[in-house]
Structure formats: structure tokens, C-alpha cells
Symmetry: C2
Subunit: 387 residues, 2 copies
């Protein structure tokens, strides 16, 4: 079974934990993204060294490659990739629409949404595929993740109010269909282990739709509630606004997951302050690969006074800068990530980055992922220490 | 000081060890190549996990990037890259000629050889540089390697006999100039540590020139003797032939290094059988990145009976092959490399390779490098056990 325990709150910020068949997760938590069965550039022991307690896998990508036949023969994603801690999988809903829409170079029509689901084009070879709510859950059962997400439509913010309402009603019917399919299969993966299922609140930037969605999703009985949408994690003003719209409608005893949020350290601080518990984002690893390394510290002793302080704009150091050519010190003196604690220097990292050496990508990714996880650990400790 | 101890021989095959300021190296030994201050895709602890006792650094590449100013400010290459075991550096002689010749896209003229040295074009930005024998040693003194190589000209096999003789005479004068510069600086790096210097036997595929070169280089008084040339390690028939031409002229109490040799497992077996002690090659890591993984075993109990057995041609498994899609076993069941012993499977490696995930390059490189080092360990044990 999946159980979430809320241990402490301070203002709206929450500290809790939940258990899964692959272990316990302490919230607030940042979840590194392992799109194709690997957190980019990192091996499972690297990921563990960042103190990650749960990682993400992407249903759309894993369904296309290596495919479900390979995945089932491996006994699921944990075993395939050698990660025995919790895994959360998305439903593919976001990718079948967003990647479908970027496939104009292929002759096939773009993604097509019907009541039954989404017909979409593989971004790899242009082949056509179809995901229904049931199919999306079935694939996640084959992946054997600890937390599954419902199949939904992430409606663009620029959609008309009437389209947004139509899409939201369909997304709610799909959420119910996912729930029913999950119940039919006794909430278990094809390997017999319990899988949690989270609902997703959509509704773009319409307050009435967001509140309707929060009530509807909260009413179905999922193990946790997520918020999705273009704005979430991308536009933090809008993200905090919509968190404020719906917070009172969310059950207190279930984890709250802001999907795709965690680009900047400050984003995590703001989202935890707004009462959310789980976050994922590709930015820490993508930034790392592009030469952007996080540097800075949490200050303040309560949610109201929390701030992110850094000598760099948004906490982003550019490692390719000539300024670091002879800087033989770690990225951050007091960072406990493997890269910093092994003594790799900014001068060396800059050299590896400028020469495009493969080692760079791993060392930089370890730092950025650990940075985000350490920040959530500090937020957690701060909430626990606060009245 | 540098000292080589020959511990045992069996037929022509030799077992020995030498000591350097950064530790002892047991021969025969394979030396992974760390061109730009990193063995591609591996961190220093990965390299240690392959049981590498010494790695290579490339003078030409490190001179261009990060440059000697950065290198000296770091305290040398060991400290810059975080590797505290022995390092051998080449002289740049090979690259200033071979990379210069591939620079036709730049408007600057190609490399120009004079009695004083080689004027060459950076493959990075087309800028012009000049290496003399003294400069090549000085750069290696700034790198602080444990073994330096003399500056030489690697004459193409297709050069006329008269050009080959002219080039060889110059290479011998350069070898003496390197030796003299080394003596002037008390055989020490700019950091005060002892550096060995190895001479290089050239002479293309001319028996008389190779023998002349072996006698000349052996007479100068280097700490070790290398053989260079287009053929070495590339054409193994020719390599063994020229080893046979010169072996009797080489001092028995100095290590013999075949430069660039170690593409196929069988190459190492043949070169050890022919009485050589040290080998380096980029192939194990380059093959790995291209999807070629070594599989196979040494059989036989004495140099005469040694053979490399593998179910794959030349011991090369192609990991991208569909055959491995559902093969959930390690690359080699009895391999003790980190990748195999952690349980990463062929199916997973194939997936990572086909999706071009960065993790693949590291896992595959660890296997191939460890494979070559384990093979030299087995050859060593076999020589020690033989009468």
C-alpha cells in the first residue's frame, strides 16, 4: 500500500514521508528525471550519491525504446536500469502531445485527440501509435513504477476558455478511466507489486477551471495529487498563483506534486513555501550539460524568511567562463556532492567543458542534482525546526 | 630515480616492474590514454577500478588546451586531473605532424620540419606554433609526468629510403638534444620530481634503419626504449617483424614500450610474446564508444601456446545488435570490471548505446579498459608461472 504521513507544517510548508514497495521517500523531495532509463550521464550509484530517494521515468520514451517487450523480459524498469529505489512514471500524456506537435518534418499528421485517447507520431521514426487512459496505465504496470500518473491533456495556456473546458472535462473522464483500470488490476504492477496512482489537476490559467479540476481530482480517490500545465515550473508567478487558487481544495493527507518544477533553486523554495511536496525537472541535468552550475545558499529560518542567496544571478555559475581558468577550487567550498568532495576544480571542469570531454557531463550533473536535493533537505530541516 | 627490475622471462616474454615518484608499475602493462587530461568518459576512480597503474597524457593537446599557464598554476597534470599515480606523456611529435597534415581546411601551410623542430598549425584555431626538442621536454616538465618521451618524427612507411634516412638522422639528433636538455635540468620536472625519459626507435619499415636507430637510441642512455612508427600497433605482422629485427639490440634492463599498440586483445599477446613491456592505445575507449566491446579469454600456459579465444571475430562484440535486446546478462559472465560486476546487462547497454545516452560511454569504456589490463595481468601471471 501507499501511505503518506504529514509530519509537520510551518505556515503552508509541509514535511512528510511516504512509503512504496521500493522504499520510503521524505518530502519535500526533488526527483531527478531519468527519461530513457538513466538520469542523463549518471549511473545508479551516482544517483544514490546525490541522496535521490525517487527518480522519474518517461512512459512515452521507454514505450518507444526499448519497448515493452524488452521491459517485461527484464522484469520492469527498476531491474532494467539497476535502480532499486522508488520510481515515478509519467503517463506519456505530455509527450504524445508536445513531441507530436513538433513533428512537422514528418509527413504523418500531428497528434489527434479523441474521446478514446491520443493518436500520435513517434518522434524517432514517424510511426503511428495510440495511447488511451487504459493503455497508459498498462504500460506503467509493465514498467512497474512505484507511482503512476494518470493520462491527461496538458492544455496550452493560450487555448480558448471553451476549449480549455472541453479538454478539462475529457481529462477528468480519462482520470476516472485510469482510476477504474487501476482498481480492476488491484492497484498492482504486472510483477505483483503495489503501485500508487496520482491524479493531475489541469485547467490552464483559468481560476474556475483549476478549482473545478482540483475538486474533481481530489474527489476520485487517488494516492496523491499533481498539478500540471504549461505554467507550472516555467512561469513561477503563475505557478504560485494557481497553487494559491487550489490549495484549500487539496486533501492535507496526500502528497502534492508540482510537475516539471525545479529549474532554479528559488523555484523549489517558493513551491515548498506554497505547500507542495514533490518536484521534478530536467533543468538541473540539462543546465549542467550546458555549463550552468548551481551555486548559493538557503537563508532564513522559516518559510516566510527563506531566501536563496548567491553571488550569481539565479544561482547560476557559467563554468566555461575564462574567469575560472586558473581557479583550482571546487564549484562550492561547502558542497557535499561527490564532484566537489572529490576535489574536482573549477579550472578542471572548465577545461573538460571547453574540450567537450564526456567526464564533464557526469561531474556537472552530479553537482546540480545533489544541489537541488540538498536544498530540499535543508527546507525539510527548516520546517521541522520551525514552530 | 627511475629503476626497472626484470623479474622473470619465459622465452622472449618478460615480467618486470619499475618505480616512479607516483608509484610502481608492473609490466607487461597496458596504459589507458588520457589525451586531454581525462581517459575519455572515465573519472580517476573509474580508471583506478580498471587496475590501471599508469596512464598517458598528450603533450600536443594539453599544450593547446588548457595551456601551460593553467597547467603550471595547477601544479602539473597529476594535480590538475586528480590522478596521483604515474603518468607518461608523449612529446607531441606525432600530433604536430599528423594533425598538422589534416589541417588542409585552414589556410595556413601545413607542418614544416626544420633541423630546429616543427612549426605546426593548431587543429583548433589554425594558430601557428613551434616545437623544438627542448620545447617538447620543457612542456613535459611543466606537465610533471613520470615518464617523458623524446621529440621525434614518425616517418610514414611510404617515405623514400633516402627521406627516411634523413628524417631518422634528424630524429637521432633531436633525441640527443632532448637527452641533453633533460640532463641540464637534472632530470626533474618544474615541481622538483624525477622524470624518466624514453628514447624512440624509428626507421619506418627499413630493417637497416630500424637497427641503426635501435643501436643509436640504446647508446644514448635513456631510462627506457620505445618503438614508434606508422606500422606499430596498426599492422601487427609488420610490428612483430620489426620487433624481431631489433630485439637483440635492446638493453635487457630497460623497459620496452610499443607506442600505440593495443587495438585487439591478440595484439597485446603477440607483443608480450615478442618481448615488449608497455603498450598504449586509444582503441579500447574508442571501440567502446562505437559499440564494440571486448569478449574472450587467454588460453595456453606459456608464450608459445598463448592464444586469444573468443566466440566473436577478434573478440569484438557489437552491443547495438538486436541479438542483445533481451539479453539480461553482463557483457562477460566472468569479467571483474565494474560494469559487469555491478550487473549492468547487455540489454541495458544496448538500449543506452542506441539512445546515445551518456552513461553508455562510461560503462562500455570501463569494460574495455579493464579487459585489456586484466589480459596483461594474466600474461604476467603466465610468464611468472612458466619455466
Amino acid at each position: 500500500m501507499f501511505s503518506f504521513t504529514l509530519q509537520h507544517t510551518s505556515e503552508e510548508a509541509r514535511v512528510g514521508e511516504f512509503s512504496t514497495p521500493h522504499g520510503t521517500v521524505h518530502t519535500p523531495i526533488f526527483m531527478p528525471v531519468g527519461t530513457q532509463g538513466t538520469v542523463k550521464a549518471l549511473d545508479p550509484t551516482d544517483v544514490e550519491s546525490t541522496h535521490a530517494e525517487i527518480i522519474l521515468g518517461n512512459t512515452y520514451h521507454l514505450y518507444l525504446r526499448p519497448g515493452m517487450e524488452v521491459m517485461e523480459s527484464a522484469g520492469g524498469l527498476h531491474s532494467f536500469m539497476g535502480w532499486d529505489k522508488p520510481i515515478l512514471t509519467d503517463s506519456g500524456g505530455f509527450q504524445v502531445l508536445s513531441l507530436g506537435a513538433s513533428m512537422a518534418k514528418h509527413s504523418a499528421p500531428l497528434s489527434k485527440i479523441t474521446e478514446e485517447g491520443v493518436e500520435f507520431t513517434s518522434h524517432l521514426d514517424g510511426s503511428r501509435h495510440f495511447f488511451s487512459p487504459e493503455k497508459a496505465i498498462e504500460i506503467q504496470r509493465q514498467l512497474g513504477s512505484d507511482i503512476m500518473m494518470v493520462f491527461d491533456e496538458c492544455t496550452p495556456d493560450k487555448a480558448t476558455s471553451s476549449y480549455a473546458k472541453e479538454a478539462l472535462d475529457r481529462t477528468h473522464r480519462w482520470a476516472q478511466a485510469c482510476y477504474d483500470y487501476w482498481q480492476e488490476h488491484e492497484r498492482r504492477s504486472v510483477y505483483g507489486k503495489y503501485q500508487a496512482l496520482f491524479g493531475i489537476v489541469q485547467g490552464a490559467m483559468h481560476k474556475d477551471l483549476r478549482r473545478l479540476s482540483a475538486e474533481t481530482i481530489a474527489g476520485i480517490g487517488f494516492d496523491g495529487i499533481a498539478i500540471g500545465g504549461e505554467t507550472v515550473g516555467f512561469n513561477m508567478e503563475g505557478t504560485i498563483e494557481l497553487m494559491d487558487w487550489i490549495r484549500e481544495l487539496l486533501p492535507k493527507d496526500k502528497p502534492r506534486y508540482a510537475m516539471g518544477l525545479g529549474r532554479d533553486p528559488d523555484d523549489l523554495i517558493r513551491a515548498v513555501r506554497a505547500g507542495f511536496d514533490m518536484f521534478d525537472c530536467i533543468a538541473p541535468t540539462r543546465f549542467a550539460r550546458n555549463g550552468t552550475l548551481y551555486v548559493g545558499h538557503l537563508t532564513g529560518t522559516s518559510p516566510k524568511t527563506w531566501e536563496f542567496e548567491s553571488e550569481f544571478h539565479a544561482g547560476r555559475l557559467q563554468i566555461g567562463n575564462a574567469r575560472w581558468a586558473k581557479d583550482h577550487t571546487p564549484i562550492m567550498e561547502d558542497c557535499d556532492c561527490w564532484t566537489c568532495s572529490q576535489g574536482f576544480t573549477k579550472a578542471y571542469l572548465r577545461h573538460l567543458f571547453n574540450t567537450k570531454e564526456l567526464l564533464y557531463y557526469r561531474l556537472a550533473s552530479i553537482h546540480n542534482v545533489r544541489f537541488m536535493l540538498r536544498l530540499t533537505e535543508q527546507l525539510r530541516a527548516s520546517v521541522l525546526a520551525a514552530q
